[in-house]
């Protein structure tokens, strides 16, 4: 079931006018911001389907940028986010795409600064609820509604066991987990949704494993 909580239906509290095109868009932007862990200097935003057709009227553009500035769905500053981004030195470019996406409300966000780049694809599935479907080329399914850890690791046997053993040691329960890879034997991505936020020390312990490249957390 995609919708789990009554507050997916009665909620969110948000700035209008559209839950999917405004609130959902803000949430997609905010997940990208959280994963990037800092304010990007450049943002290239690609809009598909209904997002591409109606983004101006729905404030999808200001909402996505508001999310990149770490604004929540009810933050009144969303309305002025393009101006605020400019003041903070974030360059934003929008691209209206003609390709027909799998889901009608799809956005691809590429954010970067001198230290790195992140590419994310998010879909807004209705009522403000979103899913992240791609991260840096890896396919995944992430609701953004639970704390999660994203583990970039070498695609080899035992990697999953090592990570889950650490979680078990600290009595952390896994709610949802999946593994994705671009090519056999190269880098792979583990997406693990958990029930509680994870301490920095546990993340460090995972990163010290030889099969692990990088661990990123999404805090609830």
């Amino acid at each position: 079931m995609k919708f789990k909580s009554v507050f997916d239906i009665i909620g969110p509290v948000m700035i209008g006018p559209s839950s999917s095109h405004t609130a959902g868009a803000a949430r997609i932007g905010r997940v990208a911001r959280n994963l990037f862990e800092r304010q990007p200097k450049q943002a290239s935003i690609h809009l598909y389907g209904s997002f591409a057709e109606t983004y101006k009227g729905h404030g999808t553009d200001v909402a996505l940028v508001g999310g990149l500035l770490d604004f929540d769905t009810f933050d009144e500053r969303i309305k002025d986010s393009l101006k605020i981004a400019k003041e903070l030195g974030m360059e934003v470019a929008f691209h209206v795409e003609e390709a027909i996406p799998e889901h009608p409300n799809t956005a691809k966000i590429i954010i970067s600064d001198d230290n790195g780049e992140l590419e994310l694809v998010g879909i807004s599935i209705g009522g403000g609820k979103i899913e992240i479907t791609e991260l840096n080329g890896f396919k995944l399914k992430l609701s953004g509604h639970h704390p999660a850890i994203l583990v970039v690791h070498n695609d080899q046997f035992g990697a999953i066991a090592k990570v889950s053993n650490i979680l078990a040691k600290y009595e952390i329960n896994i709610g949802h987990m999946e593994v994705s890879r671009k090519e056999k034997g190269k880098l792979a991505l583990m997406t693990i949704e958990v029930d509680q936020n994870i301490d920095e020390a546990i993340i460090k312990e995972m990163e010290s494993l030889d099969v692990i490249e990088k661990v990123t957390t999404i805090v609830d």
Binding site: V6, D8, I10, I15, S19, S50, G57, P104, I125, G128
Partner: protein
Amino acid sequence: MFRNVAELVEMAKTKGLPISELMILQEIEVTGRTREEIIAQMDTNLTVMEQAVERGLNGVASHSGLTGGDAVLLQNYIKKGNYLTGEIILDAVSKAVATNEVNAAMGTICATPTAGSAGVVPGTLFAVKNKLNPTREQMLAFLFTAGAFGFIVANNASISGAAGGCQAEVGSASGMAAAAIVEMAGGTPEQSAHAMAITLKNMLGLVCDPVAGLVEVPCVKRNAMGAANAMIAADMALAGITSRIPCDEVIDSMYRIGQAMPNSLKETAQGGLAATPTARKLEAEIFGKAALEGE
């Protein structure tokens, strides 16, 4: 956990609990949060709805100028007293309009289930409030019951105009509201299900064709009629009228109709009312010539 309306009604009967209470119990189970936390969050949402209605009844205007002020017109009309229908139904309509006018003006609202359909549930709630004098707790129960039916629609069909047309947004909102009105008025869980079914049946096929892609025309007036539809369907169900097609099958047909709908009628502003000469003219006025040249 209930997955469809049949299961929800059956659970309510066997446990002897109202639908609102089943929704709260499921929320506790699924999220692990306490009853107090869940009630407190719904109370916050109810307050946001109250404030949005109040703001809309004082008169707002959207940035485009397409919507605003109709809630005020209706309230003034009600005060004159020579209306043809009834005070509660017009009150529901005006409060639904008020909420959506605030939404169109990029004000703060609570999505129920979406922002474009955010007027129906609070509009009907605050109108029947004047007749039934509910406690705050009963008003929260109204929202949990509406949420339970919306939860089922969202998981078995869709609540997104881009995926299922307006029937999935205002249609779902109206069905949710009808079911909740029935519970507040003392009807049975079955009657709630029939009210939802009757409402949604009358919204099947409704397309999403927003002028200039804005959540304004026809969205605000569709919320108005969604509220009216919910009120009448609730009265019909309370009168003992049943839906020959069970609620779950109505929801399923809504999903299939949404699948069959062309993309031009699913929130792309390419078909329906959005493609009329007047809509194109308004679009050009609002976005300037660039909008037309970009086509």
